[in-house]
Symmetry: C3
Subunit: 273 residues, 3 copies
Amino acid sequence: MHPNNSTPPAEGCIDTEVVDGILLIGINRPAKRNGITPVMLRQLAEAYTRLDDDPALRVGLLYAVGEHFTGGMDLPALAEYQKRGERPVPRDQNLVEAHDLGLPGYRRRNKPVVAAVKGICFTVGVELMLAADMVVAADNCRFTQMEVGRGIMAAGGATMRMAQRCGPGNALRLLLTGVEFDSAEALRLNFVQKIVPAGMEFSEALSMARRIAEQAPLAVIATRLNLRKAIEEGPLAAVAEILEVQKRLSASEDAAEGRNSFIERRAPVFTGR
Amino acid sequence: MHPNNSTPPAEGCIDTEVVDGILLIGINRPAKRNGITPVMLRQLAEAYTRLDDDPALRVGLLYAVGEHFTGGMDLPALAEYQKRGERPVPRDQNLVEAHDLGLPGYRRRNKPVVAAVKGICFTVGVELMLAADMVVAADNCRFTQMEVGRGIMAAGGATMRMAQRCGPGNALRLLLTGVEFDSAEALRLNFVQKIVPAGMEFSEALSMARRIAEQAPLAVIATRLNLRKAIEEGPLAAVAEILEVQKRLSASEDAAEGRNSFIERRAPVFTGR
Amino acid sequence: MHPNNSTPPAEGCIDTEVVDGILLIGINRPAKRNGITPVMLRQLAEAYTRLDDDPALRVGLLYAVGEHFTGGMDLPALAEYQKRGERPVPRDQNLVEAHDLGLPGYRRRNKPVVAAVKGICFTVGVELMLAADMVVAADNCRFTQMEVGRGIMAAGGATMRMAQRCGPGNALRLLLTGVEFDSAEALRLNFVQKIVPAGMEFSEALSMARRIAEQAPLAVIATRLNLRKAIEEGPLAAVAEILEVQKRLSASEDAAEGRNSFIERRAPVFTGR
């Protein structure tokens, strides 16, 4: 399938569309290499919030319209907002959840997101990718995290997430030199999970998202949150909740369906109950 | 050498045998692809407990009889136990130590374990492998962590251990899609340390275990526990104990033997004192 | 360029030299394969301290004179010191900062260090490399962390740093067997960031250091410290300071230079203010 995309206004937009329980989230401002404006940030936050709030949605798929994922934040547009003292995103939505940073006062994201990246993927593009749960990359990606060359810090999660994936040595090389890297290097550094020929990244990400959507939704969320707890609070905090979480899941209708479908040698049909 | 294996009862068993200070621990129920029963869980816990308690033992080697490591838990047999309100393993033994999870009330494991995996290695098989200290894999392995397809969570450590080895992106892909992966992928993800042609995994794991058994036992345990402390409590907690641990080790007979053998240009003979 | 090296005394020395804001730090005792003496430890601590204290310095480059990085500590010389109850390095200097361990009472290092390793790189050599921010390796390296074969523990950071880079399985294999590994394996394990033909490692490390020296100094330090906070205290502690750090950086002269140079399409010139 191909997503249905709108013709975006000058300040860009985020397209959303639901396919088989998957929320497609499209970054849409190709005339400006998908440079992200405050309006797009807000719409991105709304999409992530909707993903969590709608029980019919099981997984998100973040992708981009046009040749490139994103050239980064549209800094002049953002500066306008900040000059007026406005926040692009209210605290009860999860922009920061788009980045999944867990800042105090912001909502966290529960449901998984698959990202499909391609072409230019600079600064906030790398951080949106790292904040996703898993990533399919076209083979033509150009990544860079070059904030130190602008006098600022990468503030969207790269300082926390890169080293988790590739160790501090590789992470510091990227963060302190701002060097550009490609899809093969992103795979080697565990930033992306799969590389496909350019043009195939959306369909490959969709098939990954479909596979997640077929699993038991409560188990998917519980697994994701337990892994995140291990990362954020340490493995012992994650262990401490395992028996209780498993007991709750085992009592669900979906666990019964899991057992029955296994005995009956058929594919399970999960409801999220 | 080849381990001496018994003909197992229908519910399977864990074979143990000591070779040069190495405790061989064999999963033995090949007629059922080594599906793990409550009896086997208890015997596994007893083997790990013995490994720690017997001062003559320096390292364990976990392997499997037959073509496959394990197809996973024997869920019907386990459900029987749980229905009767029984625990397969008393709290003072280290079943959970087989998984090495550190649940409150369970003993932790101090001594290292090398695992040799081959063929089918599903669910708890992956988690036993991840709970080992290092792993040799046959080149024919089929791994999967597919609990979300049964409506439950992987509860034996995968949610804590996978991301430590390969980052959250790769870990979430395996955990949330349940996709099968092979030996080469397990090496790439740092789940296994070495791949050998099928049939060679036991002898390769044995030679790795022999090499550990030749090192100073107190230093091996202290090194292992300091690394684990860094993972569980953070690097600063691990740093805080280094000087004290090193002072204790430096005063040991084995440290003197280490110095003397170095000066005398001969192989050291360590006693664990 | 080639660094200017002195003819070292029998107990060795650490050569220092400044090139374009980069402090070259040379391990100089080639007659003894750069075996590190207490005097060299103290001079190494002084060099790292100077790197942090001199505002004109932006990055350090740790390299070795001769064919080898280091054969390890000169244990007899160190034992002499310890017998007399002396510490090689006062607490207000950062020897341990050379290792960057953050022991209580010792200063931490703020500025980044690039290491260039080659030839033999044993025990403390591996740990100095892991304590650097990024590493260029000659293709002829021989690494080993063999302390357990001497009855002691690797006490210079390997137990904390290896598993961060390559996961606990790979780390425990190296630490508990003391096996030797080469440059390609060090790259695979994320210990080094780049391999070059032997003889090229200094110039490659220098060009990496130059690239860091061109970035905004306050942003480089803030990025490095935020990444380290994430590793030491967890990602939530790092997130908690991001907005404040970014606000401070955004108000700096260098952030204005970053914006202006971007608009004017020229290379920025940063001052560290």
